[in-house]
């Protein structure tokens, strides 16, 4: 296998890690939407923990291996329109995803605090409000949409 083959497979594998993490976050976001007990929400946050690692690996890996691929391959340049579009979409996805995750980080901290105070099984309207945060959901939707557009861009390669 050539260096190009390895770079391409690592680029695609990290893209799979990124989308897999997004899928896990969406599944948990949907099932935890009606949760108001700290103990129950902490259970879902434990499932999200490996997805956090996948998200970091996927976000950085797609960028690093993607740029390396563009440098390695003579017919592609980093300043090609479709590659620039992917970089802009990547930045939009990363930032909207970061902001969209804030309510969930706050919800996890609140659930941990309530559980530490021995109120883990008591319903909390504040926790429920954070888990149902509409703004966070919209930002995560935008982040996922940007990833989908990157996938379309990578396959169609407009202008290449």
């Amino acid at each position: 296998m050539s260096l190009y083959d390895w770079l391409l497979s690592l680029h695609v594998l990290t893209a799979f890690a990124l989308v897999a993490a997004l899928a896990v976050f969406w599944i948990i976001g949907v099932v935890a939407r009606n949760v108001d007990r700290p103990v129950e929400s902490l259970r879902y946050f434990r499932v999200a923990r490996p997805a956090n690692v996948l998200m970091i690996v996927g976000t950085l890996g797609t960028l690093v291996f993607g740029i390396w691929l563009a440098i390695e391959r003579d017919e592609y340049q980093v300043w090609d329109g479709w590659i620039l579009a992917a970089l802009v979409l990547w930045a939009i996805s990363a930032e909207t995803g970061r902001r969209g995750g804030i309510p969930y980080v706050e919800a996890r901290k609140l659930a941990e605090r309530l559980a530490a105070e021995g109120r883990g099984n008591e319903p909390s309207s504040e926790l429920a409000a954070k888990l149902q945060d509409r703004g966070g959901m919209i930002l995560n939707g935008l982040s996922s949409l940007a990833i989908l557009l990157i996938l379309v861009d990578m396959i169609y390669k407009p202008g290449a």
Partner: protein, 156 residues
């Protein structure tokens, strides 16, 4: 072969997009299921097993169909027959997708029955059937990671 893939005609792109999207969502659904099942191996089994089961039913299984049907579409457009003269990377893809789909289906049945028994008995502990499903789904996820590598790197 990777050069051939790089110069594929544009009218195959939509099928390829659906194939890759289905595969990515399949890996996502399996990742969620595997994580939940393993977390429920020793404690809180019912809650984690329920999450794992529904990840398989609602995400992994439909995504498998999307990946498989779109993959067949791409394969037929490229003129692959699924026979002995197909390249090794394609054979790996076919084998893992078929066997993986069957194992996902078996895991859904096993974990579904296991969950039902846990609910009926009011048990908090783990179910043997769910544990068997956990191992099967973990094997499928590992096989699919290898398949993604094979489909991308296209080793001879």
């Amino acid at each position: 072969m990777s050069v051939l893939a790089a110069i594929r005609p544009d009218d195959w792109n939509f099928a390829l997009l659906l194939h890759v999207l289905g595969a990515m969502l399949l890996v996502g659904g399996l990742t969620c299921a595997v994580t939940a099942f393993w977390l429920g191996w020793r404690r809180d089994s019912a809650a984690f097993s329920r999450l794992g089961f529904w990840s398989l039913v609602a995400v992994a299984f439909p995504s498998w169909w999307l990946m498989r049907i779109a993959g067949q579409w791409v394969g037929s457009e490229e003129g692959f027959s699924g026979g002995d003269d197909d390249p090794a990377w394609l054979a790996i893809g076919y084998a893992t997708s078929e066997a993986g789909g069957l194992l996902i289906l078996i895991s859904i049945v096993l974990t579904g029955i296991g969950l039902r028994r846990m609910r009926g008995a009011g048990a908090l502990g783990p179910s043997v059937l769910v544990r068997i499903g956990t191992v099967l789904v973990t094997i499928v996820l590992a096989a699919y990671v290898v398949a993604v590598w094979a489909m991308t790197a296209k080793p001879d």
